[in-house]
Symmetry: C2
Subunit: 185 residues, 2 copies
Amino acid sequence: MLSAKKKLYKKKDYPVEDVRFYLEPSPAVLLTSQYKNERNVMTLGWYTIMEFTPSLIGCMISGSNHSFELIKKSRVCVINLPTVKLSHTVVDIGNCSGINIDKFDKFGLETEKGHKINAPLLVNCYANFECRLYDSKLVKDYNFFIFEIVKAHVATSPKYPKTIQYRGNSHFIDSGRNFKIPSLK
Amino acid sequence: MLSAKKKLYKKKDYPVEDVRFYLEPSPAVLLTSQYKNERNVMTLGWYTIMEFTPSLIGCMISGSNHSFELIKKSRVCVINLPTVKLSHTVVDIGNCSGINIDKFDKFGLETEKGHKINAPLLVNCYANFECRLYDSKLVKDYNFFIFEIVKAHVATSPKYPKTIQYRGNSHFIDSGRNFKIPSLK
């Protein structure tokens, strides 16, 4: 479960232009959103980094998700990065709709307020990226939202969190060996 | 090196609507393109699955890449999936421009012709996905190309190729443990 008596991570501000370090490998993330008093959380795997500055990220959010309407109206969301410990919670969140239930209560998700936007951060995720809608040009045709990451909170350790990636049909991969090869820009 | 006397993989046709199995985790891929007699290959990490049917994938191709112009003109390309053995070739390809050299010759890349499109497949990559430009609406503002994968060639083994993911500043991760958790759609 995502909930815990004590916080799993101590976090620091992180440069928004460097978020690719965590998001380029496309780990499964939890997208939180809020419009007025309604909030939701969904699992997301289809997204890509689009630019360093402004720090842009393009996300596919299916119109069948309850989050779609909340984000269209509020124009903000938070991308939360869970680690492998939370795999089952990530799956459970992805397997139910927030239309009739509050998933935060159901799964005991501890939250805190966004610093720059009005949407909840998931405290026990490794990182939280606060996003504002930057361009909605492809929302109508593709459900593709381009967000600007306006604030990034990243745990101070471990340096290389073990994240998970989804590939369909219940198959996951966790992040493997970290290594450097000089020097791809 | 990517070249080899004998072919590294035996491949089969693969359903284009199932390519997320390989591409959702966003491994570093090699994008090949051709316009008239000019061809090129580049390293790509910024892309996302966008739809099952048609099989859509959105790719960020910087305007500073030689491939950008070739693909804009030819409206086709191939996404080739290298494995960890080819890490250094992936880096080398990403570190030079094809404007004055033929990278296929320079790096000894064995190719064969696309089956449905006119662009080279990299024989010794684990998989090859032939793409046609589907929507260029975001090319002008973001260099974001939406391609349709029209033909997929995937190696018959191993089932779980060890791929690599890039995260900036020369840092890579290879794909880790494969596991299943029922049942995220």
